[in-house]
């Protein structure tokens, strides 16, 4: 992520700061420190497995030596067989110990991964929404989660194994170097030199791959888009009707050609690496054979020693290759690890656990509020000031993109002004505890999202503590449990909310009533509701919360007129006795509001009651007339002035 300097961005947003680039050693230390802090046993296993690994390699070379060396030397068959049995049993013990320890390492690694995943996901729901929803924030999050989200072979799971392999490599080389130099010093030199060559090549290869990953990012995005679009059910009608099939196939073929080119380059370099290794092994073996043979021919070693030394030489060089592969692998994972650390170490300035006390009256005041989205140059809200009295109901109207939803975001605390102050009950809202601030609102948003949980839990929202994930697949077991009085009370409240939202009959008809799971895709026995029903469900959630301030953001676009007019009635249930903000471009729905703000270009252009604004005859009236036009008994009449028509087109 490049460093963009944008003077208006709040410094606490963090994106402006330089991305941390930790070195390999810093990162290894970071991971090891966290392991030591959270899982001391895992840490111990990483160290413990090292001697076992060295022992196994030694025994693997030693057993054939014992078998061959005993021929004609052992005084009896019994002694001979025992000289084989002991090392074999030792080998068995070491091997079993290794498997168990290795299992402990993978398990420890999996736990670490789960831990980072938990940190990462917690951050998702907790981090400042403004930063979270910005383009940079989304990149930060998706890259930050990638490492913990990948399959089994990631850095986090394998880290312990890689560390121990690394240590065993060093240990093994130090331990057996003496034996190799016994053959010839140049052999040790040869092994080390091939190690260096391999390391160097591995690094170059990793660099090349990293470069390719960067270069192909755009290409891969394109391929993914085409693949998903082709298979997307929602696109199916248009694809068939407009014969878009060929457009997709042509595009895909072109992209695949490009992709193959990159792959071929990678493939050849990968192969070159293998070929290099094979060549190095060729030289190493040649050299080893040469020295061992001359020793054998000069009579300084026997056949058994020949076999043993050959095994050890191969073992050491095998370790070295392993060690190098481990370093290269860990090194290759540094970029995603840096991404993860950047995300986890990101700090916002929201007040959690501290902050000013929540107010007891609920009027809302904007004082010269300015706002622009991070990364954008245009202010969406330009010096807006208004005061909504406690219990007052205000409608915000304006064309799409005028900044209506932004105002709502600012009020709730999802977005933060870059200049000016927002006061709720006279208290500077930015200084409040963020979670207590959220709790002040019963909001219904434009997009309806249904939680993959029971109807009751969906309606209760934050009010329920435990999410019974263990209960996968067996809906409705709640009803069999003994209910605490508190729970019974909450369930009654849910019922009431469902009733007020006009959904109770429908919910009661479900197989498990309000304990039925939602989200067909999430588990067996779960159901999907229709669009209109979902809309009522989110309304029920807002009613249940019964917070002092109600917010309704454009909620009726997809409803038919009768359902629409019915849901307006339902909204009255929600806003009764509350401070309320209502956003809609169906102007008729603003009828039950005390005051209307007409927003244009980030400013309040007109404000007042419907009657007053109609009398004023400004932009609001113009918009209302346009909408009412076809509903008039005589639409051909001259109520629609030429000027208003022109106004419509200039936009």
């Amino acid at each position: 992520m490049e460093d963009v300097t944008d003077e208006s961005r709040r410094p606490e947003n963090g994106f402006g700061e330089k991305k941390p680039e930790y070195s390999l050693w810093q990162n290894m230390f970071y991971l090891l420190k966290n392991i030591y802090r959270t899982d001391k046993l895992y840490f111990a296993f990483i160290v413990l497995i090292v001697p076992v690994q060295i022992g196994i390699i030694a025994l693997e070379a030693y057993v054939p030596k014992a078998v061959i060396g005993g021929i004609g030397v052992a005084e009896s068959l019994r002694v001979y067989l025992l000289s084989i049995v002991y090392p074999v049993l030792l080998y068995l013990a070491a091997k079993c110990l290794y498997i168990i320890l290795d299992y402990k390492l993978v398990k420890g690694g999996a736990n670490q991964r789960a831990l980072y995943m938990t940190y990462g996901l917690n951050k998702c729901v907790d981090m400042d929404y403004q930063a979270f929803s910005s383009e940079k924030g989304q990149t930060l999050v998706s890259r930050g989660l990638a490492l913990a989200d990948e399959g089994d072979s990631t850095l986090l799971v394998m880290f312990g194994q890689r560390c121990s392999a690394f240590l065993a490599g060093i240990g093994g080389i130090v331990f057996f170097a003496g034996l190799v130099t016994q053959i010839h010093l140049s052999l040790l030199v040869c092994i080390c030199v091939s190690g260096v060559i391999q390391y160097y090549y591995g690094e170059r290869l990793a660099e090349f791959k990293e470069k390719t990953v960067k270069e192909t990012r755009g290409l891969r995005t394109k391929m993914r888009y085409v693949r998903r679009a082709k298979g997307n059910y929602e696109y199916a009608k248009d694809i068939r009707l407009y014969r878009i099939v060929d457009l997709f196939r042509d595009t895909e073929r072109k992209l695949e050609g490009e992709w193959e080119c990159y792959r071929r380059k990678e493939k050849i370099r990968d192969y070159a690496g293998f070929a290099l290794t094979a060549l190095l092994i060729f030289f190493r073996d040649g050299l080893t054979y040469f020295y061992l043979m001359s020793m054998f021919l000069s009579g300084s070693i026997q056949t058994a020693d020949f076999v043993f030394l050959l095994g050890i030489t191969r073992g050491i060089s095998g370790w070295l290759m392993d060690l190098i592969a481990q370093i290269t692998a860990i090194h290759g994972d540094m970029a995603p690890l840096n991404d993860m650390r950047e995300y986890l170490e990101y700090q916002d300035s929201l007040k959690r656990g501290e902050g000013l006390p929540v107010p007891t009256r609920y009027d809302i005041e904007f004082k010269d509020v300015w706002f622009k989205y991070p990364g954008s140059d245009n202010c969406v809200i330009k010096g807006m000031s208004f005061h909504i009295k406690e219990g007052e109901k205000v409608a915000i109207v304006g064309v799409n993109g005028a900044g209506k939803s932004t105002i709502v975001g600012l009020v709730i605390g999802l977005l933060h002004p870059c200049k000016g102050e927002i006061l709720i009950g006279g208290v500077n809202a930015e200084e409040m505890n963020i979670n207590e601030r959220y709790a002040l609102f019963s909001a219904v948003f434009q997009d309806v999202h249904i939680f993959p949980d029971t109807v009751a839990n969906m309606v209760m929202g934050s009010d329920y503590e435990e999410l019974d994930l263990m209960d996968v697949g067996s809906s409705g077991s709640d009803s069999e449990k003994v209910q605490t009085p508190d729970e019974a009370y909450r369930r009654r409240k849910v019922e009431e909310a469902l009733e007020k939202a006009g959904l109770i009959e429908m919910i009661q008809a479900l197989p498990y009533g309000m304990d039925t799971y939602l989200g067909k895709m999430s588990r067996e026995g779960a159901v999907d509701l229709s669009g209109g029903q979902n809309q009522r469900l989110v309304l029920a959630r807002a009613i249940y919360r019964d917070a002092p301030i109600a917010i309704l953001d454009e909620p009726t676009a997809a409803l038919d007129p009768i359902a629409e007019s019915e849901i307006y009635e339902r909204y009255n249930q929600l806003v009764k006795g509350k401070t309320a903000i209502f956003i809609s471009h169906r102007l008729a729905s603003t009828r039950f509001c005390d005051r209307i703000f007409f927003i244009e270009d980030g400013q309040i252009m007109e404000e007042g009651s419907h009657e007053a604004l109609m009398r004023y005859g400004g932009k609001y009236k113009e918009m209302f007339d346009i909408q009412a036009y076809y509903y008039q008994d005589d639409p051909e009449g001259d109520k629609l002035s030429a000027s208003s028509k022109g106004g419509g087109e200039s936009r």
Partner: protein, 625 residues
């Protein structure tokens, strides 16, 4: 006795059908990527030969050392042969690995290609969706899918060759009897082989049971957790869900989050624990074999009946044979489980499309004299017994503008799906100029319609490609279409004119457009197509009043004298249609123009109209006063 025999044949049959199923999987693999299929066989062979050759050459060197011969030549031959074969095997291995990596993408491409051409009915069938989701979910377990199939094929081939070549290589040791034992040679060998085989059978059984138990674990425990996890995923990563989580479910999600990794961890732990226990037993078996082998051959060597080289050769070969066998049997079991995946995928890729049965070409007419008639059509979705349309009769007269209104779920959109043959009617028929539409070539028939669906989609390509629905287009015509729908001014602000990419999914330089702008481009696409029938389904639902009005006023220029169907629940938009059809619960309940329909105060139209108009009317009176 008899039952045992049938048991035996049944077993035999099972193995045969098992092999056949694995073979089917391999054929599907070859169908999607032939070279990967070839490489997996070749690599299986090479993977068997390379280590066996190394063992053989190692033994040769020892033999030459102890009993004389041209030592230099042998060593040189050993390491050179090893180099050559490794180079070859690695080459095939790289091809194989890349093939496996690319397999997923190739499979997805094949599936999505298929999805573009299957019948709409299949596409909207929840079972199709379930199947594809199942495939995707199943692939997440590494034991399933086509890349896994390639691996199994390789492993089975490798096991076969290892056993075959290994048997020949190790034969020498069996020819010499154990000294000082009175049992005949044949029996000695039989006992030894039986012992080794016993351990091996135990290993194979263990491996196979392990495979099926792990699979059960993954299906019964890991899958539900995974499903749930994917369902929750957007709530974490997707910002549009962020408002909900912050305002309503933060605590719940936090406790949920805390549980998900733990749940995944538990399942994972059981997997690992189980694998480890199998691992320990396997290691024990292997080392027991090793002990037996060294003992068997060692005793013979002790008495000088076989040489040190024989020990190296025999021990090395038997170890390779044993791991090769266990490995390939384990992978065979996995391949058997994978057949469930292969079957679902294979069936889907082999689906035949019924829509394309019609062959009659559609007559090209410059005068657009096409007449469509809906005759006594009733319709219910497959698998449902509720009629969505009942006895609908409708004639679309040439050049007429027809409005279809009604509440949500009254059957308006379904009617369009029937006319465009996304579905065929359950009862009744639809005719084009008097001929049943099922007889026409489907693609040509579809070319008669320009439809802007309620949930129309634009693609993240250039504006021009979107309008023309093709990579090649007539620039003038594209610009003209965009001008007609009122996109001209916005187009001037686009960085690359009609070659500007929209949205950011495809090109980073893409421009985000508003819902109203998207609407206009979709209409331009319909215009560019220039089909004789224009259908607009709820085109203004997401628009603000001014954009809405803008679209209404352009309606005439968009339709340009073609036959048009306009679907809406916003009745204000019907005013400019000559003919209005009111749908209610799947039936046509009223038909006429606005003035006629509004007079019937008992009718559905009146009810719908007033539900909306009330807000505007009483206010209007105020203003008029």
């Amino acid at each position: 006795m008899k039952t045992e025999a049938t048991e035996g044949t049944r077993r035999q049959g099972r193995i045969n059908s098992g092999l056949r199923e694995v073979w089917e999987g391999f054929k599907l693999l070859c169908k999607i990527d032939r070279s990967l299929g070839r490489n997996s066989i070749l690599l299986g062979f090479l993977d068997a030969v390379v280590p066996l050759l190394a063992v053989y050459m190692g033994a040769r060197v020892i033999q030459v050392l102890t009993s004389g011969g041209d030592i230099m030549r042998t060593v040189f031959l050993a390491i050179t042969l090893n180099l050559m074969l490794s180079l070859l095997a690695k080459w095939v291995n790289v091809q194989f690995d890349y093939g496996r990596m690319e397999m997923w993408r190739k499979k997805e491409a094949a599936v999505s290609d298929k999805l573009m051409e299957v019948d709409f009915e299949v596409l909207e069938d929840p079972r199709t969706h379930e199947k594809l989701t199942w495939l995707r979910e199943t692939e997440k377990f590494f034991d399933y899918g086509l890349p896994a199939e390639a691996y199994y094929a390789k492993s089975i081939v490798k096991g076969g060759f290892t056993l075959l070549i290994g048997a020949i290589m190790s034969a020498r040791v069996f020819k010499v009897p154990l000294p000082g034992v009175t049992i005949p040679l044949f029996l000695q060998n039989t006992v030894f082989i039986a012992l080794i085989a016993g351990i091996n059978v135990w290993c194979v059984k263990l491996a196979q049971r392990g495979v099926s138990q792990l699979d059960e674990l993954s299906q019964s425990e890991a899958r539900p957790v995974n499903l749930l996890f994917s369902a929750y995923w957007p709530y974490w990563g997707d910002y549009s869900y962020g408002k909900d989580t912050r305002l309503y479910a933060q605590k719940a999600f936090k406790s949920g989050i805390a549980q998900v990794p733990e749940l995944l961890g538990n399942v994972y732990d059981r997997f690992l624990g189980y694998s480890a226990s199998i691992g320990v037993k396997n290691a024990a078996a292997q080392i027991a074999t090793m002990g037996l082998v060294y003992g068997f051959v060692g005793v013979k060597a002790y008495y000088g009946l076989v040489t040190a080289a024989d020990i190296i050769l025999f021990a090395g070969t038997v170890t390779l044979m044993m791991t090769g066998l266990t490995d390939s049997m384990q992978n065979y079991s996995k391949a058997l489980l994978n057949t469930s995946y292969i079957k679902v995928l294979g069936e889907f890729l082999n689906l035949k499309s019924e829509r394309y049965q019609g062959t009659l070409p559609v007559e090209k007419r410059d005068d657009n004299e096409y007449e469509i008639e809906v005759k006594n059509v009733s319709f219910r979705y497959p698998g449902s017994d509720k009629y969505v349309l009942k006895d609908v009769n409708l004639k679309l007269r040439v050049g007429e503008k027809l409005a279809v209104v009604g509440m949500n779920g009254s059957g308006k959109t379904t009617l369009i799906k029937i006319i465009t043959r996304f579905y065929d009617p359950t009862e009744g028929e639809i005719t084009l100029n008097g001929i049943d539409i099922r007889k026409f070539d489907y693609q040509e028939y579809l070319d008669l319609f320009s439809v802007v669906f309620q949930d129309f989609k634009l693609f993240s390509f250039t504006i021009a490609e979107n309008v023309a629905a093709s990579t090649t287009y007539d620039e003038k015509k594209v610009e003209e279409a965009l001008k007609l729908v009122g996109f001209e001014e916005r187009l001037r602000n686009m960085p690359d004119g009609i070659c500007t990419y929209i949205y950011k999914d495809f090109a980073e330089s893409g421009v985000e457009i508003s819902g109203g702008e998207a609407q206009k481009i979709a209409m331009a696409r319909a215009l560019y197509k220039g089909a004789p029938f224009v259908i607009l389904d709820e085109p203004t639902a997401a628009l603000d009043p001014i954009s809405e009005f803008d679209i209404y006023t352009r309606f005439d220029s968009i339709v340009q004298g073609r036959t048009a169907i306009y679907i809406s629940h916003r009745l204000s938009s019907c005013r400019f249609c000559d003919d209005i059809v009111v749908f209610h619960e799947g039936r046509v309940v009223q038909r006429g123009n606005h003035d006629e329909l509004i007079k019937d105060t008992e009718g559905k139209y009146y009810e719908l109209w007033n539900a909306q108009a009330q807000y505007y009317k009483e206010q209007q009176i105020d203003v008029l006063l």
